[in-house]
């Protein structure tokens, strides 16, 4: 059975800080992706090459 070791307060704060950083990075990536697909779609429609 796996031993469970509690984190120290300092480690716990570091974990939270890093998780928050990852979440913000993921949010930024998702927003950028939405913007990119929106822009690609506009260009493709404008060029009349939107063929899937």
């Amino acid at each position: 059975m796996e031993l469970l070791t509690p984190l120290s307060r300092a480690d716990s704060q570091a974990v939270q800080r890093r998780r928050r950083g990852r979440n913000w990075a993921m949010l930024a990536a998702l927003i950028a992706l939405v913007g990119l697909f929106y822009a690609i779609t506009l260009v493709k429609i404008g060029q009349g090459t939107m063929a899937f």
């Binding site: 031993l3 070791t5 974990v15 260009v43």
Partner: protein, 328 residues
């Protein structure tokens, strides 16, 4: 607020057991999820390698005849960057055992224990698929196919097949890094031509003197990891000669586009001047003060200089190509 004292980058979490910790409202499923930061996931993409890949891909796109809408051109470059990063992440997953014993790479997220190997593999595969699909949607299927080929070449041919088996790993595997200008060209034109093939050949023959200069001063790391880099297998003296020979072959090759009338004089003169500089660097590597077996007595100062120059060389050579296209 108390600052964490032992969770810095590049540090192992020795002593930290896999845990389900409940403290201050924090739940973690394991050390990897707990201690990886956004910067670790970015580091998996080998951003320093990505720079040159993006630049050569962008130049391929710029010098190609035709026009690509700026949004689509940006997307094509983004796909090249993401694909290169994804291939780098898969490379880090596969090479995690040798990365752990090499001083230069021991601090990477997987060997340092901040990201689980399986998660890095999934990340690499997902980003690879994303890059190829978006490239096909934004530009054309041919560019996406070449992009997929470049990822497959880097992962299967270089990383899994050649790297640990032959000192020619860099020579053949260098093709993976030579794809970006071709991808950029195909993204614009939808087809191949002589010019992108020449650009491919230039990066292909640039890679061995570039990488062997690095391996001359990092050979102890490669020897410790059992990677058969040329200085480890054939010795430093042989490697120095190979650097000179490849450089002597590379420089005339870079002049071929000008000789065939595919570029103007700006590129041609730049290729000659830069090439002469590269030859001087290679000869300095050859004539470095060394012992009986070719080991440097100057801490490989000429090899370090040659490595730095080789990066500048490719940047300026490709920049000259773009300048020539729009000014010449």
């Amino acid at each position: 607020m108390t600052e964490p004292t032992n969770v810095g980058h590049g540090q192992n979490r020795e002593g930290s057991q896999p845990s389900l910790a409940l403290l201050s409202g924090t739940m973690v499923s394991g050390p990897e999820e707990a201690f990886s930061s956004a910067a670790d996931w970015f580091a998996l993409l080998k951003p320093r390698v990505m720079t040159l890949v993006v630049f050569t891909g962008w130049i391929g796109l710029l010098v190609a005849p035709g026009h690509l809408h700026p949004v689509l051109a940006f997307t094509a470059i983004l796909c090249i960057a993401v694909a290169a990063g994804a291939a780098g992440a898969i490379n880090m997953w596969y090479d995690r055992d040798i990365d752990a014993v090499m001083r230069r790479t021991a601090g990477r997220p997987i060997p340092a224990g901040r990201i689980a190997a399986g998660e890095a593999l999934g990340y690499g595969i997902t980003l690879s698929a994303f890059a190829v699909v978006v490239m096909a949607l934004a530009t054309n299927v041919a560019a996406a196919a070449v992009l997929a080929l470049s990822i497959a070449f880097y992962v299967f041919v270089y990383t899994m097949w050649l790297k640990r088996r032959t000192p020619q790993n860099i020579v053949i595997g260098g093709a993976a890094g030579a794809f970006p200008p071709v991808i950029g060209w195909v993204a614009v034109t939808g087809g191949l031509d002589l010019m992108p093939i020449l650009l491919f050949a230039i990066v292909f023959f640039w890679t061995p003197p570039h990488f062997w200069s690095l391996s001359l001063f990092a050979h102890a790391d490669y020897a410790r990891a059992g990677v058969p880099m040329l200085p480890v297998v054939a010795g430093a003296r042989h490697t120095r000669w190979q650097i000179v020979l490849y450089t002597l072959f590379l420089v005339p090759l870079t002049v071929v586009p000008w000789a065939l009338g595919l570029t103007g004089a700006i590129y041609g003169i730049a290729a000659i001047v830069l090439g002469l500089g590269f030859i001087v660097c290679a000869i300095r590597v050859l004539r470095d003060e060394q012992d009986a077996v070719g080991i440097s007595l100057t801490k490989d100062a000429p090899a370090r200089a040659s490595f730095k120059y080789s990066i500048l060389y490719l940047f300026v050579l490709f920049a000259a190509l773009a300048v020539d296209r729009f000014v010449g």
